[in-house]
Structures are given as structure tokens and as C-alpha cells.
């Protein structure tokens, strides 16, 4: 049991991060805090990929010794693909955050608040008197 816990501690941390992110996205009332939760959630998935690519004693996937195909032992290298994929995922995450901030700024300009409860109240007021 202990072995199961310690052997996978990278995944446990990922799971905790994932939960924190999800909690922030759902339960925080402030839009920026929701975004922070969203970013934590995205980062935890990046951590997940990196954890599953990690390997004790592995080295960078550059062919050092090229004395024939026998020298190429895949077990000695770390799989570079998850890292590459996560570079793309980081870019996607940054783009998402950028778009999200642009939208949050627009919301703030129109409603002068970022708190969801106040926002709902002001939206309702709009609804009663639909003057744009």
C-alpha cells in the first residue's frame, strides 16, 4: 500500500492540483479567480504528461554513440514526445488565457464588477429595463 502511494507520488500531486483547479473553476465567485483555477487545471495536465514521461537514469534523446544500430537502446533515453506535445499545450493554454482576459476586461467595462453574484444582479436589472 505504502509502495503504491510513494511509487506514484507524482500522480498524487497531479491529482491534488487537478482538484484544486476544478474547485477554483466551480466554486470561486470572482471571474479572475475562476481563470486562475482554469490555469491550474491546465498546468496539472501538463504535469501529468511530464510525469508519465519521466524515467530514472534516462538521458536526453540525442544519439551520442553511433557505433551501429545496436548502440541505440530506447530504454536509455527519455521519451521526448510528451514534452513536445506539452510545449504545444502550453501555447494553447497561454492563448486561452489571453482570450479569457480580453473577455473579462470587456465584462468589467460593461458591468463594473467581476463578482459573479453582483454580475447576475446587474444582468437581471438589464433584463427589467432593456436599455442598451
Amino acid at each position: 500500500m505504502l509502495r503504491f502511494l510513494t511509487g506514484h507520488y507524482g500522480y498524487w500531486f497531479t491529482l491534488i492540483l487537478l482538484t484544486i483547479g476544478l474547485y477554483g473553476m466551480i466554486f470561486k465567485r470572482n471571474l479572475v479567480k475562476k481563470l486562475i483555477g482554469m490555469t491550474i487545471f491546465q498546468v496539472s495536465i501538463i504535469m501529468f504528461y511530464l510525469t508519465c514521461a519521466a524515467k530514472f537514469g534516462g538521458t536526453v534523446p540525442v544519439l551520442i554513440d553511433d557505433s551501429g544500430p545496436a548502440a541505440v537502446n530506447p530504454a536509455a533515453y527519455i521519451n521526448a514526445l510528451p514534452h513536445t506535445l506539452m510545449l504545444t499545450a502550453i501555447v494553447v493554454g497561454v492563448a486561452t488565457t489571453g482570450v479569457a482576459f480580453a473577455i473579462v476586461i470587456t465584462i468589467y467595462k460593461r458591468y463594473k464588477t467581476l463578482d459573479e453574484d453582483v454580475l447576475l444582479e446587474r444582468m437581471k436589472k438589464d433584463h427589467d429595463a432593456p436599455a442598451d
Partner: protein
């Protein structure tokens, strides 16, 4: 030229991606050119996807290797009957809607035309990429390209639009992350991101927990993207508050792409065995779809605003597609794919008429409709009636045939409850559409001037009217051709094990 044509599978994505950037620059230098540029680009892309479909019908599925790297290492684009067909549908609808958009965009988002068309092209690029890619991670990237542009297109709408867009963004990103997490689990197990390769490896590790967890996450992510009940929370506000041009663009093709991905993954990556026997995923999809059909239809009856009613109706209609996917037999699958096409044209046409109403009447409040509309906008009303009848499922409109295939699927698989759901929801569809038709054709106008019959013809401008009418006409033509499409194209889609 021949060189270009051999590369035709990759062209739609490339053209759209580069012209999205180029278009923004052009719009910045010469704002008046942005619409003609966009429309010609989308026209070219539609023509290429038509050519691709012909090519697939003639030569069989085409596997295109990016940079000539063979599949497990490189990224593969797969142009088969399914992807070529859905791609042509998506691009045709987008072409008609963007043709319609010129006046609407100018009126509803003044000063923002500059970015609008570029974002629309970027969204289309994402969707085309999702449809054609044969690589799981590549699909994620295109999914995010499409979704991020979608958020932008929604956020430029009326006062409440940014809030709807923000909620959609949070939900959509959550969905994208779930999908990414899911394929992470699959990659851990299979060591491959290529769809065909993964599909070949997966049967040997059917019961493994990591594969099942991956499947659940992918399913959850796609459920949110396609607004499958009860994951539809973002949809009604987003469709209602988006500018008319955006809702007409998003409603027909946005959720369909999610449904397409679900179909592609369920049948061509996970395979029937795992989703129907190892885990009851297919059954879950069916029940959620059935619940969504009833829920969406009933809430659509309760709405007083046309666009909002159409949004709830979209939740119901995506249920039909999901039901077809979940029932997992030949008839139901054909029905689901046919419904992707039919609903794209029906919802496109309905949202275009809603845009026409908003433009000419200044509102789309069903409670304020009366028969002056019929006199003012006879053609728009005609298009609305045709697509409403198609939604209800009256022959010979297109909507009848996809429902027929779905019903046949339900009978064939002995899913009697789902047969009842399909028939009952047609009744509910009739209720909410006839309510509008009744108001627009039979309810006497309130004010005296209109009652005199003096209300002048005030039809939408031709650039808006023509695409609306073409869509309505297509509904009848596609309805008449539906057996040809089913036999000629959809019969070739043969997922293993079905």
C-alpha cells in the same frame, strides 16, 4: 496544377489558416475588401472539399502524410467518406452563412468587421482540421483553434454576450482539458497518437483501467463540446446573446463537429466492442441523448424569444445525432450522419431567418409576432416554414429522412423506448414551431394601420434573402436526394465490427 490537386486533402486547412491571417491584414489596410476576400476564400475551400468528396468516391479513402512522414511518427490526414462528407457540409453551410453575414455584421458589430471575418476563417480552419485529422493530439490543437475563435465570435455580441462567452470559455477549456487528459491515458498505454494505430493496439488491452479512464475522459470532454445533456449548460446563453451572424455560423456546425469527433472516436478508435460490451458507454450515450431530446424540446416550448427557442431546440437535435451514435447499428449510424447534415442546413436556415427578423423588425420576440410579418417578409417566412416543417420531420423535407433512418435503427436494435422518444419529440417539435407559424400567419395585427392591410412589403435585402432561400431549397433537394446520399456515400462508411 496537378501537383496542387494531389495535395487537395490538406488544402482546405492550409488555405483557411493562411487567409485568416492574410485576411486580417487586408481588412486592416482596406476594410471594404474583407468581406469579398473572406467569401471567395470560403468558396474556394468549399469547391476543394467538393472535389475531395468526388476524389474519395472515385479513388477510395486517401491517407495524406504531413511532410511525407509515415503515420505512427508523422501526422496523418485521413480523407475517407465520412470526413469528406462532413467537411463539404460544414464548408457549404459556412459559405452560405458568411454570404448572408455582410449586412448583419456591419449592423450588429459596427467597427469590428476587421477582426470578425478573420476569426470566422480561423474557426473554419479549426473545424476543417478536426474533421480531417487522423491524429489524436492534432485533433486537440484544432479543437482549441476552433473553440478559441468561437469564444471571440460570441463575445462581440450584445451586452450580455461576453458573460455567455466567458462561461462557454471555462466550460470549453474544461472539455478540451478532459480530452487531453483522456488521450494522455491512451498514449501512456498504447504509445501512439495516430488514430488507426491506436485502434489496432487497443483491442489487446481492452479491460485495462487506464484505457477505460482515458475513454471516460475523452467521452466527457466531447460531451461538453457537443452540448450533450446534461453538459449543455453553456449553450443557450451563448447562442442567444451572440451576434446573429455568429449564431447562424456556430449553431449549425459548432456542436456538429463535437458530435463528429465522438462518432469518429467511438467507431474508429475505441471500436464497437469496448463501448458496447466492456463499458456501457453506448447505452449511456443513448439515455443521455434521449433525455436531452425531451428536455430540449420541452424547454424550447417554454421560450419566448426565437433565438433562445432555437438554441434549446439545438440541444434536442444534437440528441438525435448522439442517439444514432449510441444505438450502434447500420441504420442508426446512417441516420446520425444524415442528421448532422440535415440539422446543419435546418438550423442554419432558421438562424438566418431569425437574423432577417432582427434586422427588419428590430426584434425576434415570438410573443410580438403577428400576421403583419407575413405581409412584410413573405419570402423569409416561407423559408422559415420550410425549415420548421423539416425540423418537425414532414416528408419530403430533409429532416424526415434522418428521423426515418434513426427510427429504423431503433426498430432494428429493438430499442422501443428510443423509438417512442423520437416520435414523441417530433410532436413536441410540432408544438413549438406551429406556435410561431400560427402567430406569424394567423394572429391579427394589433395596430390599426397593419390591420388595414396597409403594411408595405419590407423584405430583407437580397444579399440576406438569397442565402436563406438557397438553404430552404436545399432542404427539399437534400430530402429528395437522401436515399442517393445514403446509398452512394454513407454506405461506404464501414466502421469495423458493425
Amino acid at each position: 496544377m496537378t501537383h496542387l490537386l494531389t495535395n487537395s486533402p490538406v488544402l482546405p486547412v492550409l488555405i483557411l489558416l493562411s487567409s485568416a491571417l492574410l485576411g486580417t491584414v487586408i481588412a486592416w489596410r482596406r476594410p471594404s475588401l474583407s468581406w469579398p476576400f473572406t467569401i471567395s476564400v470560403v468558396a474556394v475551400v468549399t469547391a476543394i472539399s467538393g472535389y475531395n468528396l468526388v476524389r474519395v468516391l472515385r479513388e477510395g479513402p486517401i491517407h495524406y502524410y504531413q511532410g511525407n512522414w509515415a503515420p505512427p511518427i508523422g501526422i496523418e490526414y485521413v480523407l475517407d467518406h465520412l470526413s469528406a462528407f462532413v467537411m463539404l457540409v460544414v464548408n457549404t453551410v459556412a459559405l452560405l452563412v458568411l454570404f448572408h453575414a455582410r449586412v448583419v455584421v456591419k449592423a450588429e458589430t459596427p467597427g469590428k468587421e476587421l477582426g470578425y471575418y478573420g476569426t470566422a476563417l480561423l474557426m473554419l480552419c479549426g473545424f476543417n482540421g478536426i474533421i480531417i485529422t487522423g491524429d489524436l493530439f492534432n485533433l486537440y490543437v484544432f479543437l482549441e483553434i476552433g473553440s478559441l475563435s468561437l469564444y471571440g465570435l460570441i463575445a462581440v455580441g450584445e451586452r450580455k454576450a461576453p458573460i455567455a462567452a466567458f462561461r462557454y470559455l471555462v466550460m470549453g477549456t474544461l472539455a478540451g482539458c478532459f480530452y487531453l487528459l483522456g488521450i494522455g491515458f491512451l498514449y501512456m498505454k498504447t504509445g501512439s497518437l495516430n488514430m488507426a494505430d491506436t485502434a489496432a493496439i487497443l483491442p489487446s488491452m481492452l479491460g485495462q483501467p487506464a484505457v477505460l479512464v482515458g475513454l471516460m475522459f475523452v467521452f466527457l470532454g466531447m460531451g461538453i463540446k457537443m452540448a450533450l445533456f446534461p453538459l449543455h449548460g453553456w449553450l443557450p446563453d451563448a447562442y442567444t446573446y451572440a451576434p446573429s451572424a455568429s449564431s447562424a455560423l456556430i449553431a449549425p456546425i459548432g456542436t456538429k463537429v463535437g458530435a463528429y469527433v465522438l462518432l469518429r472516436l467511438v467507431y474508429f478508435v475505441f471500436g464497437i466492442t469496448i463501448i458496447a460490451r466492456t463499458l456501457p458507454v453506448a447505452k449511456v450515450i443513448c439515455w443521455l441523448a434521449a433525455a436531452g431530446i425531451i428536455y430540449g424540446s420541452i424547454l424550447a416550448i417554454a421560450q419566448r424569444e426565437l433565438k433562445r427557442m432555437l438554441a434549446y431546440s439545438s440541444i434536442a437535435q444534437i440528441g438525435y445525432v448522439a442517439l444514432g451514435i449510441g444505438m450502434a447499428n447500420r441504420w442508426a449510424l446512417t441516420g446520425a450522419i444524415l442528421h448532422i447534415m440535415n440539422h446543419a442546413f435546418m438550423k442554419g436556415c432558421l438562424f438566418l431567418t431569425a437574423a432577417n427578423f432582427r434586422r427588419k423588425l428590430g426584434h425576434s420576440d415570438i410573443s410580438r409576432f403577428d400576421w403583419s410579418i407575413r405581409k412584410k417578409m413573405p419570402w423569409t417566412m416561407a423559408a422559415f416554414s420550410i425549415s420548421a416543417l423539416s425540423m418537425i420531420g414532414l416528408p419530403p423535407m430533409a429532416g424526415f429522412f434522418s428521423k426515418l433512418f434513426l427510427a429504423m435503427g431503433a426498430v432494428n436494435g429493438k430499442h422501443w423506448i428510443f423509438l417512442v422518444v423520437i416520435l414523441f419529440s417530433s410532436l413536441l417539435n410540432a408544438v413549438y414551431f406551429f406556435r410561431v407559424l400560427e402567430k406569424a400567419y394567423l394572429k391579427p395585427a394589433g395596430d390599426a394601420e397593419a390591420a388595414d392591410g396597409a403594411c408595405a412589403r419590407d423584405e430583407a435585402v437580397p444579399s440576406m434573402l438569397i442565402p436563406t432561400l438557397i438553404m430552404a431549397l436545399l432542404l427539399i433537394i437534400l430530402g429528395l436526394l437522401s436515399t442517393v446520399i445514403a446509398d452512394g456515400i454513407l454506405a461506404h462508411i464501414a466502421p469495423p465490427g458493425l
